[in-house]
Amino acid sequence: MDSPPEIQAVYEAHDLTKVYHMGEVSVHALRGVDIHLYEKELIVLLGHSGSGKSTLLNILGGLDIPSSGEVFYRGNRMSDFSESELTRYRREHVGFVFQFYNLIPSLTARENVALVTEIANDPMKPEDALALVDLDERMDHFPSQMSGGEQQRVAIARAIAKQPDVLLCDEPTGALDLETGIMVLEAIDNVNRELGTTTAVITHNSVISDMAHRVIRLRDGQIESIVENEEVKPADQLNW
């Protein structure tokens, strides 16, 4: 393995492909992707819309299965996971932040977070997680009573509250204005620094890449480049 011995690879993916069949046409979302994610690192996935970023992240998060190729999570082959092992993997190890927040509309912010902490192994209190994203004031509001940025922060609190091993964020700032975007990124950055959570963030905004340890660029379902940042900037110092 090409990883330095002192840093363990959290994910190792080999030659991943993903083909979607839609009637007559097949869409090749991934065409042979090799990727490693290391302990405690923050990577940014860049690429145009449709380049396969979400597909890749979903496969890592156990939300989707590749058409071919293999993914190892801490040395375990994920294609060997049974349905219940996959569920346990998602429950105990992964925090997911979706582009469209995916909050449960009938639950308040606190309850949305509790939904996850109730089934996790060693969770934070929902209140503490919400405080981390600066939302302690709005805990009892329903999603429909919150702005997009606030909803996204609830989604982040929900993802980090279970203290996951990996945090996977799919365009967490995609639908947000600049200021809220920064707040959300700060929250993610904080979790990575303070809890040492391995983090992958998808964006198509290359400015965000300055806060990452590594930047991986996808194009047409393939890895175009992997760039290691010498200097990692905190989110509030990014040049927008």
Binding site: N102, E111, V116, I119
Partner: protein, 787 residues
């Protein structure tokens, strides 16, 4: 409470209108089931306990006269457990306040101690004193009808002598849970009494010392009843035995059993409809919810909720609706059962308070409801949670609007906008449209079934008393009299027409099948009493041979042309053979008919008659009855029509109550289906409708598109409901057919009109409810949200 449970409660509250509608349908179905079943079990257990406690006999036989030791010989028949010999006599009563004569059956009762079988249950007063003349205990129905209390008296013609009877007690008897006379379909409690009199007094009054003329037997469990019946017949034949019968031919027992059979049918058919409709509604509502919550399901899976946990979540939501419906259904059913049992208590008299709810019935009902409700949703839930979370994150592809049949036919060019949209929507999802139509159709069908009973009974009464038995009264003689006796009656002032008949009890046998019945000889001129087919056509009575009720022919497994053996059960008990020359397809009974002269010939007797039918000039009834009472040969006069009218009065009240239930239930179904469909349509098409509003459609126009669809489906559903209702009635009429009667399949136009009206009303009501939702359509929110 866990967050997932909170979500479930809030989801439920969000769809509360639909939840209430569905729960109501469930509640109705379960209520009918619980009501009918608990009534069934209450009646059954009351009857069985009563039979057990009062030692109701299994085999019954009347005879002319036998010395007492003969009864002891009956005990030697294998399988017989107990024997009770009695004296039973018919007498004519002169009841104060009743112009027409009434008849009473006098039954002997042991002078001291209990009888071995058929013990009476004394309600008030005391047993009759064997040492005092004329004391009797009266059956409750007759006593109540006339307000008799212990101490009251009534005059009777006993064995030709006038005697005053004193009622000293009022009782019930397991032999007369309902007091129906042979040959009648309805009880006539005003004109038919049953009295128990001490044996010693009976012996004296009827010169029956040391003899009996009625035998009751009980058999040991597992004994061969048919064999016992045969042996009893053989034993009693020399003593004028009239043929033994088992409980299955015992009138009171048979009526109660038929009623239980009807309750059984009733506890199955309507609940099946309700639960079927409820399962459909649950399915539609849940599928919609699952579609709306696709992304939520995906998110839950992404957070690590297992498919099982998510399935449980949705199934619990459905379960809560079912549970709420079940709870209300059980309560409502208990109440219904109580009120139905009260109703039955007016016709069937038991000594104990009847109603009790059997927990097994509640349990079975709930189990049935839950399985019906869950079957429909399990598949939907399973396929919804099986989906890969990543897949579910993507909104469902937009519905496929291919050019529909209407477009291809080019109809859309001639249709205005709104009907076009409606038709397109319907043809796009025909299965759902069909199910919705079916649901509404069933509401309509339930209403038709609900009124079917009344239509059928009305028809039967019209048929029987308007066409078939047009006499005002029928007279029976103590014994056969020469045919010319009738000419003296012809002169009674007020009698307009008179037709005589001959009737003999007989057993008709064909190969191994046999049946005891009354063989009736009818005169050539039949205007008062006619032999009619169910279609009202008059049946010919050939100069020779038998014409049988079609039901009797079925029991005997014979066809026209077969020869039967006729064993006459009175007089010299002759045995003859005769061909069956015709069948009469009638509604009630198992009679056999012959030309009166042919019957006299067959019996090798002179021209004699057993009774006569008369028609009376209006207003002359009282004087005619008075005169008849004084005619010595007249044993009794029956007025079936009057009896039936009295019976119908109380029956009508109960019908009204049942009808109220039915209308409520049908409304619940109709509103449930229509409201639910409209809600789902509103949710599915909210965006589209809001868009229409934004681009300038009025509320009215938007409502027309959504509700027009329902109006259209309702219009389709009504004729479909008529057809289903008709089919159900046909099924019910066959299912409820018994030996005693066949239910004609008659449905009157008002029944259809009423059903259609209620369904339309329910549709309008639920449209108004949904219309409020359309009026409050939030255009901005709907358009902003992503879907």
């Amino acid at each position: 409470m866990r967050a997932l449970e909170r979500k479930m409660i809030r989801d439920l509250l969000h769809m509360k209108g639909q939840a209430v509608a569905i729960a109501s349908v469930i509640a109705c179905g379960l209520a009918v089931f619980v009501g009918a079943q608990s009534t069934l079990w209450s009646l059954k257990s009351a009857r069985d306990a009563y039979y057990e406690r009062n030692r109701f006999s299994h085999v019954f036989s009347s005879l002319k006269r036998a010395p007492n030791p003969v009864a002891e010989r009956a005990l030697e028949i294998p399988g017989v457990r107990r024997v009770d010999d009695r004296i039973v006599k018919g007498v004519t009563l002169d009841v104060p306040g009743l112009t027409e004569p009434a008849t009473a059956k006098l039954i002997s009762y042991p002078d001291r101690g209990e009888p071995t079988l058929n013990e009476i249950h004394l309600l008030v007063g005391r047993h009759a004193d064997p040492l005092r003349t004329g004391e009797v205990v009266a059956e409750e129905a007759f006593a109540t009808e006339h307000g008799f209390r212990p101490g009251d008296t009534v005059d009777a013609v006993m064995n030709g002598r006038l005697q005053t009877l004193t009622i000293v007690g009022i009782c019930l008897s397991p032999e007369y849970i309902t007091t129906i006379q042979g040959g009648s379909l309805w009880p006539d409690d005003r004109r038919f009494a049953i009295f128990w009199m001490p044996r010693r007094q009976m012996e004296a009054a009827f010169e029956m010392e040391g003899a009996f003329n009625d035998l009751a037997l009980s058999i040991v469990p597992g004994a061969n009843e048919a064999e016992v019946v045969r042996r009893v017949d053989r034993l009693l034949a020399p003593y004028g035995g009239l043929g033994a019968i088992g409980r299955d031919l015992h009138l009171s027992h048979r009526f109660v059993s038929d009623e239980l059979k009807q309750l059984q049918t009733m506890s199955v058919i309507p609940p099946s409809i309700f639960l079927g409709v409820a399962a459909f509604l649950l399915n539609v509502a849940l599928r919609r919810l699952l579609t709306l919550q696709r992304e939520q399901i995906a998110a839950l899976k992404a957070f690590g909720y297992s498919s099982r946990e998510i399935s449980v979540h949705y199934v619990s939501l459905v379960g809560l609706i079912i549970a709420a419906g079940s709870l209300v259904g059980c309560l409502l059913g208990t109440w219904m059962g109580r009120s139905m049992t009260e109703m039955y208590a007016e016709f069937y008299r038991f000594p104990t308070t009847l109603f009790h709810v059997d927990y097994r019935v509640l349990f079975a009902g709930c189990a049935l409801t839950f399985s019906a409700g869950c079957i429909g949703v399990l598949a939907a839930v399973r396929s919804a949670v099986r989906i890969q979370p990543a897949e579910a994150m993507r909104p469902e592809p937009p519905p496929n609007y291919e050019p529909s049949l209407i477009e291809r036919l080019g109809w859309h060019r001639i249709l205005p906008q709104a009907p076009r949209m409606i038709l397109r929507e319907l043809t796009r999802r025909p299965a759902k449209a069909i199910m919705t139509t079916l649901g509404i159709a069933f509401a309509c069908a339930i209403l038709i079934v609900g009124n079917f009973g009344k239509d059928a009974v009305d028809f039967l009464i019209d048929f029987q008393f308007g066409l078939q038995e047009r006499q005002d009264a029928s007279i029976s003689f103590y014994e056969a009299v020469p045919a010319r006796a009738i000419s003296s009656m012809r002169h009674i002032e007020g009698i307009e027409a008179i037709e005589s008949f001959r009737a003999v009890p007989a057993r008709i046998r064909f190969s191994q099948f046999s049946r005891q019945t009354s063989l009736q000889g009818l005169g050539p001129k039949r205007e008062l009493f006619r032999l009619l087919n169910t279609d009202g056509e008059e049946v010919d009575l050939p100069p020779d041979g038998l014409v049988l009720s079609a039901a009797l022919a079925r029991i005997l497994h014979l066809e026209v042309g077969d020869r039967v053996r006729i064993e006459v059960l009175e007089g010299e008990r002759v045995v003859r053979e005769a061909p069956v020359v015709g069948l009469v397809d009638d509604f009630a009974g198992t009679s056999a008919y012959m030309d009166i002269r042919a019957l006299n010939r067959l019996l090798r007797e002179p021209p004699v008659i057993s009774g006569a039918w008369i028609s009376i000039r209006e207003g002359a009834e009282e004087s005619v009855f008075r005169e008849l009472k004084e005619t010595p040969v007249v044993a009794g006069v029956t007025l079936q029509r009057i009896a039936v009218e009295g019976f119908m009065d109380s029956f009508a009240e109960n019908l009204l109550r049942m009808r109220l239930f039915n209308v409520t239930f049908a409304c619940v179904i109709a509103i449930g289906v229509v409201y639910n469909s409209a809600r789902v349509a509103l949710s599915e098409r909210g965006r589209e409708l809001a868009t229409l509003r934004v681009i300038g459609f009025t509320r009215g126009e938007v409502s027309t598109i959504l509700l027009g669809e329902l109006a259209f489906l309702t219009a389709l559903a009504i004729p479909a409901g008529f057809a289903i209702g008709y089919g159900l009635c046909r099924f019910i009429s066959t299912a409820l057919e018994t030996e005693l009667y066949r239910i004609p399949l008659v449905l009157n136009p008002p029944t259809f009109a009423f059903a259609a009206l209620v369904v339309v009303g329910a549709t309008i009501l639920s449209s108004l409810l949904v219309r409020r939702g359309i009026d409050h359509l939030d255009m901005v929110a709907v358009l902003k949200s992503r879907e």
